[in-house]
Amino acid sequence: MEIKVLRNVMVKNNAIGGDNRWRLKKNNVFTINMLSSPGAGKTTLLQNTIGKLQEKYRIAVIEGDLYTSKDAQALESFNIPLVQINTEGGCHLDARMISGALDSINLEDIDLLFVENVGNLVCPSGFDLGENRRILIYPLTEGDDKPTKYATMFSKVDLVIINKVDIAPYLNVSVEKAMEEVRKVNETCEIIALSATKPESLEDWFQWIEKESVSALQE
């Protein structure tokens, strides 16, 4: 006998993601899920972002990492709420892990929450964490053909940050070409080119956060 089930398995994750989103919204927390391959510059960008925006926003960070707490240690000096999640080899953060992490943050005292996902350009794209915006850090060191090769990930984000533009001359790639490639797989996302290591190049990124934090909390 055949019994129809017809259920998307991802509802198990997404239902919890929805709960997270509701909790965050209730507390007016704007949440950004940061995706990228390993070494793209997520932690570096966080360091230079928190330093600059700390006066304006009350910031918290959830650090996803396979086994270590290196990235959390790199942010310790900011004295902000910081939760380390070790996935023990798991290739992505899921909504249940975030739900547990939110339990240990006093959400009423937070305006802006960054989630640094595990470095991986494939798996995390399928897991809604309850974030307001998804961003992808795409460094030019990966070459300018990655958007079409990893189209699923590139097509599911609100913002692509093209990083490490300071070393473009050494890499035989162009920022313009990288932008065109992003556009081929995502017609609507915003694209910002910067160097996470150069604070003076981050102005557009800060403005994006300001603009989106306002609109996201009205959605």
């Binding site: 198990k12 798991g90 798996c123």
Partner: protein
């Protein structure tokens, strides 16, 4: 690698379904049919590596698996389509 998590979700849903369906409760399952879009989100071999471990000793233990491709599905989801029980 995310297949280990997917395998847990699948078993949760199968158990919920079986517990709420008189025709399925406690019956041995012959076949489970999955479907997904393009590009596929789940690699069957990797999924089964985890899943066969999880279902040991359950009513799903001896099930065969079938994977359908739905070319129109761009959602990135992974669906349980149907469950077939052994003939009485």
């Amino acid at each position: 690698m995310h297949e280990s998590k997917i395998a847990e979700y699948v078993l949760e849903i199968l158990k919920e379904t079986a517990d709420s369906d008189d025709d399925l409760r406690g019956k041995d399952v012959k076949k489970i049919t999955f479907s997904q879009g393009i590009p596929p989100f789940v690699v069957p071999d990797s999924f089964e590596f985890y899943f066969t471990e999880l279902i040991r000793g359950t009513q799903f233990e001896n099930a065969a698996f079938e994977y359908l491709t739905d070319e129109g599905d761009l959602s990135g989801g992974f669906y349980i389509q149907s469950i077939e029980t052994m003939e009485d």
